[in-house]
Symmetry: C2
Subunit: 556 residues, 2 copies
């Protein structure tokens, strides 16, 4: 029965396996929110489905969840008022444990088939999810649709593909035969069993709950673990929708739906996260979020395998460009996109004090800095376009930190301003602040200031720019970096220095591709080689330790 799902989706799986080995551009989930692809009523139906959730209890029929609590408010101003199960963890874990045996013992193809079906189900109509993502994270609709829907599903599928590949590298059975003497031969039949770690706790983030959450969720599920999903208080609905779909598919295929469950906090305080992750029966923790709590988990949860994506300080080094407008336009878009709330957003732009070469000319530092400010101003000059690019600020705390950082120092080249959203008057929209600092003002820029803030840093030379970008990565973590240079040798050195510091490098990006973007099946998101995280979305290391192989030997 469940093998049917594997066969149904085998072509997709094979496509994913091919893509992760070629690293070429590939996706089975269309990223254009078009009626031609998804059906003419899909957009409206998705919106209606989202609206129907508002102000109600989100029903999951989970054990131990008689209390329900509301947590979220939309960064666009709407009060969602959805109430989620806040479970008694002992009761919930009891139910997950009871559900696990058949899941653990199911064939790899059965589990993988079910994961593929969940992804397919979520992918068939991503419009409800798009609205859920938008009104929890503050992303604009288009970004919410793409990053929260198809691109997140890509990352989930990628994890399933890695899990399948790693679980099937070792045969299930083998005959081992050895001559042990002149006449004697020993012959053993060996069976290799996938033994999952047990129960995974998935801690969601508030900005990309599905994109950052699906990899761990599907990697754990495919490898036979149970999953307890604890979304961020500010973005529960997206992961609740995913859990709902997963439970439905499990149940349809005669598995206990409690293989996966939701555990939400209430807004009343009394958070359950620490109680959850310190449980001895949690074998895996997937975490995306701030460094402080990430480090708390790493210190206090040594009983579990922890996969953590924390914060970083991303850099852009501008040494020289062919076309100034093309370069600054690209950088300007990168810093504005979702108001710097992506873990891939650049924060620090390094410019040498002597300015930069542009084609055969040279412009001074101030002109180069002004060109970046000008690119941002141009992008935000059309209010309708501005709010589409900026989205809304996910939470108030981001603005408090921004305002504090501006007071702390740096010359204000561009002030952050509140902007009106025509459609959502209550939306929390803020344009980026751009501050100029000197290379020795490390206390200001050698730290993550999450949100719409950019430091332009005046350095002695491009060599110092690269060195400081690498230092930031090594000391504080970094998830992306960009280098602009027409000097092949400088570019090669920068690539080596920055990749040595564990940060991927995008070179001379212009046009419709941005340093913030990470493509599933091709780009490794977070290297694990600097403090920004210890795990990559996705590679073999992200899945192989979620299960172990334990063998039996029987003489034939």
């Amino acid at each position: 029965m469940s093998h049917t799902l594997y066969q149904k989706h085998e072509k997709t799986l094979k496509g994913a396996l091919e893509a992760i080995s070629t690293r070429a551009c590939w996706s089975p989930f269309p990223e254009v929110p078009s009626g031609k692809i998804y059906g003419e009523t899909a957009r409206g139906d998705g919106f209606a489905a989202f609206e129907a959730r508002i102000g109600k209890a989100f029903e999951l029929a989970q054990p131990g969840a008689d209390r329900t609590e509301k947590t979220e408010n939309s960064p666009f101003g709407q009060d969602l008022g959805i109430r989620y199960p806040k479970p008694d963890l002992d009761e919930l874990f009891g139910a997950v444990h009871r559900a696990l045996k058949p899941w653990r013992n199911a064939a790899v193809e059965t589990r993988v088939g079910i994961c593929l079906e969940i992804l397919d189900r979520l992918g068939r109509n991503p419009f409800e999810m798009a609205n859920a993502i938008m009104h929890t994270t503050g992303q604009s609709f288009m970004m919410a649709f793409q990053a929260g829907g198809p691109h997140a599903l890509d990352r989930g599928l990628e994890a399933v593909a890695y899990a399948y590949a790693e679980m099937t590298r070792c045969p299930r059975e083998a005959t081992w035969e050895k001559r042990v003497g002149k006449t004697e031969t020993v012959r053993l039949q060996k069976s290799f069993r996938i033994v999952p770690r047990g129960i995974a706790a998935l801690l969601g983030c508030s900005t990309f709950p599905t994109w950052n959450g699906y990899p761990g969720l599907f990697a754990s599920l495919a490898t036979g673990n149970g999953v307890v999903v604890k979304p961020h208080d500010g973005a529960v609905l997206p992961l609740a929708l995913a859990v709902e779909t997963a439970r439905t598919v499990l149940e349809e295929n005669d598995f206990d739906p409690n293989v996966i469950a939701l555990a939400a906090n209430g807004i009343d305080g009394s958070p359950i996260t620490k109680e959850l992750v310190t449980r001895a029966d949690v074998g895996i923790i997937d975490y995306t979020g701030g460094s402080a709590f990430g480090e708390w988990i790493e210190t206090n949860c040594r009983h579990a395998r922890v996969y953590a994506e924390k914060a970083g300080v991303n850099s852009v080094v501008i040494d020289s460009v062919e076309d100034l407008k093309a370069a600054t336009g690209n950088i300007g878009f990168s810093v504005c996109l979702y108001s710097g709330q992506m873990c891939t957003s650049p924060q620090n732009i390094f410019l040498a004090k002597d300015g930069i070469r542009v084609g055969d000319d040279r412009i001074g530092f101030d002109d180069a800095a002004a060109a970046i400010v000008g690119a941002v101003n141009w992008l935000l000059s059309d209010p309708a376009r501005a709010v589409e690019v900026l989205g809304a600020i996910q939470n108030e705390g981001t603005l408090t930190r921004l305002d504090r950082a501006v007071v702390e120092g740096g010359a204000v080249l561009r002030a952050s301003e509140s902007m009106a959203h025509e459609k959502f008057p209550g939306a929390r929209v803020r344009s980026p602040a751009i501050l100029q600092v000197d290379a020795d003002q490390k206390a200001l820029y050698m730290r993550e200031v999450f949100g719409p803030i950019v430091y332009i840093i005046k350095t002695e030379s491009s060599a110092q720019s690269v060195a400081l970008a690498a230092e930031a990565a090594r000391e504080h973590g970094a998830i992306t970096s960009a280098v602009y240079s027409t000097d092949a040798e400088l570019l090669r050195d920068a690539q080596e220095t920055l990749t040595d510091a564990g940060v991927p490098v995008s070179c001379n990006l212009t046009g419709q591709i941005f340093v913030n973007q990470a493509a599933a099946f091709s780009d490794f998101h977070v290297s694990g080689a600097n403090p920004a995280g210890n795990a990559t979305l996705c590679d073999a290391a992200f899945v192989v330790d979620r299960f172990r192989i334990v063998h039996t030997r029987v003489p034939v």
Copy 2:
């Protein structure tokens, strides 16, 4: 130049890659210490080479190593008096860091080729190593030759094969092309770079320094890391020989030999292990040894990726047998082999109080226990055979613990006795103690008592026997288990229960195959799924996290 080595050994590598995917019996290293294979003078030459080391300084021309210290004494009575470099770690690490850049940047084939050459060089004449293993670990010559030579090289080769497979799964270059609009296409050239963690600290053990040490050593080396080898005080020579060969091969191929270095303690105290592993520039720690220090490392070395094999309590469950003599003969050999000093040696034998079924008959508990004691007595009745099987006790502390354990409780079915070794009068040889305890005397048997001691535990039923064996594995760790039963259902249940507890199961072993033996390329040694360790020799998880992949993107 170094690619030549890859080509030279490519057939061996392909053989290893094939074996780890079929899990069939395979080895390129002959395990018979025969003159026909290794050359008629090899045995004598190897012994002479070993003798020539005695009482001298072991020269490695390492920086920071002006002090040399002697550490070992042979468990067979001989004073080795070899002095090893005890380096200043700052100076040594400085040299390793300086050596690393070309090693890290070398092609995968270059590094893998060099690793294969080192293994080949060590495999060509394993007799010096056999003597070194014998006179440090206390293994008899035959075991020292096999486990310390060819079988250890198998495990090293296995690690190199896994490292090669995992490093080459992702292409080095890819072109990524995406339509981003009606007319615009983005085309990126991506490069994927292997970024190793840095410097690995390898902490050797005293019983199987090469067998347990090579996997980590070669996995780290192949993936571009430097390696600082800190052998156990009681077994320095085997790893010193390996380091010497590795440095020679590196130098011959124009790499700085300081990519790998030896760091030994002195017998005067002032151990360097804690100073070594807590260094911030140690990125990987491979450890084999006692649980207490393993846990200390796990707690205190969170800056590094730790692969630890610790202790466990291995069980045998006897429910029913076809042939009592065949079963007890096999078990008797397993408990005597190297005096229970293998991490795979059985310690606890569970027998139901009603005894066991033998073919169509039934024998009582006491008769079954007596049969095991009888098998051990028979095996040790020929003194020459006895010392070949038992070997010598690696260190005095093992006997102290044994004697204390005997006093602590249990009915002595067989007392441990000192035995004379005809060839080595000073050899520390002790036969195993066999104690009978009740199932509820958990304080006695639910712990590791390393060395020649066996508990026969009287249980209510075979079901309880299996449950207790699983409990021991879950709570205290276990690396092997054996079950004897002619009841297919019981056998199936026991396999599920014990593999769930993360312990491999050998069923109904008789003849020339023993529960203690783990075959490279086929058996996963240590599951990582119970407290006996967090890593497996070898699987993908053992290598994939020793490096990260960091990419660059450049528009084409």
